[in-house]
Symmetry: D2
Subunit: 270 residues, 4 copies
């Protein structure tokens, strides 16, 4: 480092602590051993640490290195053993960061997609479904907390229009997000969160639907009319029973009769 | 300009003509006299000119000035007389640009929203509806052409599911874009284009719907089941009859039973 | 209302209170009397209320009516007197909503753009600058709070690269957001918030820059090298002194030497 | 199919041919054998066919099946042999579609990311870089054409400001897109297209940069000042020499001194 000035280590003119300083929108390769199988994907990363009031800045490249070294230096065997979930991968990155850059607080986020295999309702064909997921890990005052988020596409069939139109109603795509903030050691599978959300719509959606399957989905939507409020209530009700932590639910319905959307959002504890 | 180097006027190392060089994503105030009423809005502008192979670059600030001077120097009275449509405002900007910067070809785009007053189907209340519109003006080889685009939100009720489920079907929000490329002097109102598109869905959508109106919209959707293909066909069919020019139609349906969208797109002449 | 079923008033199967239920992404016309001048614009609205555990849903159309009636029934004279800021317009909408729909908690958001007139540094030309602004009003337990947000585009010139490259450095566009949550009666002008943010970058940005102005901006960037951390610190430092409330600052720098962005974020109280 | 109505096969009321009808924004798993290594990824698909004027619609599920069967039924061994590029994967999907659904014209698009390994300029560390790529395959009148697109993030250092400020200048992130439309059998590697674009900026960008590398990138930007016009010219010049086909180049520079962007775009043949 001979001859290089480390401006980051200087005392800044204005003394203010900063809680989150780092890298965002970084896309790179990651690997985890998900359910016994090596899984390679290209997520988006965000990684931040705090800055004390007597330091001008952080060494950004050390954050990048913590990510890339964790992935590239790991031999596949090691990945298979160690990183069996997104949050364990994040923990490995934060541990590496601890050796590289002093900090009190660290936070790391991975945004990616999950693919789950579903069976269509009647023809029993395999349909691969994709879900947006986000996992955050926050290390603060020696405590490790994680935030798990899933985003699921479903639909709503309006119960109010149905009762006022003798069984006819407006139907539309709806999107629900379930977030749980809990301690690192709490075991919560993203697949279970997705199941809670997906089963709370008027019907789940499928990538592949033959006519017999499409008919079953249509029938199901009419048998389960739901306001956006109903979807939110069912998700929070099920989530409280199955998962331990702070819960946030947000449902948006892309109304087919309006240009705008309707929304229902709630928290637990309220 | 004493002491200022005009790098743009130099001969570049690599000689290649460039067709479109300029400013994009510029948001500023604009005014037009739309149907006899002064209308102020904040559109997004794009303005480009060509660069001959012996010039290194263009003077970007002159493009900005052509826009801002056209708006700010115009006294309101002048606006009232001159700019009675988006394309006439664009022509005024290009005329100003001709005095500022030599070029063979110029192209200018305005993206904004149009607000139209609608009446709800039963309660006859006023409902203000917004539409994305884009107007482009292209001056090339002494010829002036314009491109008009409207984007309208409606819905589709699937006729295939309806016939296979005794009148029940899946319904969803759909979005259609109609584009017409024609000569500058061809008089085509964006409102007429919007009407062509909006009347081609299973039903139009409304910002405000009381229960009696909502019922009417629901009934209408079931009486007019449409594939995304039907919507596209009806738009192109009507547009060909009403408007002179090259036509492009694109309809996207946000399927309520799938996570993906379906699309129908066509052109005239085919 | 004879013969219409009000499904919303039923008791839902699952009893869960919902905090935020309503309309989002609704675009319509609004008018305020800003600094003595009538100003018409097309913002995006979100409006939500809470739902008690014994009600199945809310009457969405009453939320829409609260917005549209506030705007359309108001004669221009009334607007001139009453709505002199976005939050006062929001209060008028909530007051109208109180007569239409029972609730304990209401929240309304307006997202729009603000145009401010600036003078270029040397040629002293007028340059119109646009800023994204958001204003939220939250009525809860008889208390009125507001949230004000501004988003400003500036730049950062890296001080670390500068000292290691004898005055040369990497420069890039940066975007900062300042948010203040405070009581409704606290008078804070969005323009003042914008000024605080805009003066904290290496330099402000301008829509129009003649060469002499561009030179001044370039010189200014090199005289004010800033980490994204420096920008965040300066904004929070100034904001604490000028504005009363909870403050959040977020700065993102679109690094010219990386594909990813860097971020600095902090809160007051910390 | 007993008892199922095939509405799609009916003759529509309005007879209009449609050129592109199908599925868009479909995200699913895909596999190719890229350079001898099996590569699994989650791209976004669009697949469309034409509709003759005597048919009401297409059987959308057959398009989905053509994609999913091509992937899921293929044993890994087969993938290794057959799909050695995105366009060959697309060809396999179209061939499967030919057996499932009659059509005259078919078009399929895959959007995904490519990861390339780079070496940092001085410390010679490995830096993984990501690029957006799109590959389209169009089958029309018995002819197969493909469209290859790459999107690369780089930077521009303004030569005009540099000469007017004694070596100081404004620098910013810039994004360039190179598209080539050519016959299916023309061998063009996306990596080669990326190289052409990446080498045409003031400097390439890197995910990881230690201080010595950052210094090298900064020095390089000042040694290679480029207008957005220069970047576009260099890309089209190189692309014409290396690749056979119709070429389109688009460069956007996220100006650090403005809120708007500047653009340069050109085509070959012009």
């Amino acid at each position: 480092m001979d001859g290089i000035f480390e401006t980051q280590e200087e005392v800044p003119e204005i003394r203010e602590r900063l809680r989150r300083v780092g890298i965002t929108n970084l896309r790179t390769v990651a690997k985890i051993n998900w359910k016994g199988r090596l899984y390679t994907f290209i997520p988006t990363f965000e990684i931040t640490i705090d800055v004390p009031e007597e330091k001008k800045g952080i060494h950004m490249s050390r954050l990048v290195e913590s990510i890339t070294e964790t992935m590239s230096e790991a031999i596949e065997e090691e990945v298979s053993k160690v990183h069996s979930s997104l949050e364990e991968l994040e923990l490995a990155i934060i541990k590496r960061l601890e050796e590289k850059h002093p900090h009190q607080r660290a936070e790391i986020w991975i945004k990616t997609h999950l693919i789950l295999e579903r069976e269509t309702p009647v023809s029993r064909r395999k349909s691969l479904e994709t879900y947006d997921v986000e996992v955050g890990l926050i290390k603060e005052k020696g405590k490790l907390e994680k935030v798990l988020r899933v985003r699921v596409v479903g639909n709503t069939a309006c119960p109010h229009a149905m009762v006022n139109n003798r069984g006819k109603t407006h139907i539309q795509r709806a999107i629900a997000t379930l977030e749980i903030k809990t301690s690192f050691n709490e075991e919560i599978a993203l697949e279970d969160m997705i199941e809670v959300v997906e089963s709370s719509f008027s019907s789940p959606t499928y990538t592949l639907l033959k006519t017999v399957d499409e008919n079953a989905v249509v029938q199901r939507m009419y048998q389960n009319p739901r306001f956006v409020e109903d979807v939110a209530r069912e998700i929070i009700f099920k989530a409280k029973q199955r998962f331990k932590g702070r819960i946030h639910v947000r449902v948006i319905s892309l109304e087919s009769i309006h240009k705008h959307d309707v929304i229902a959002e709630t928290w637990y504890p309220f």
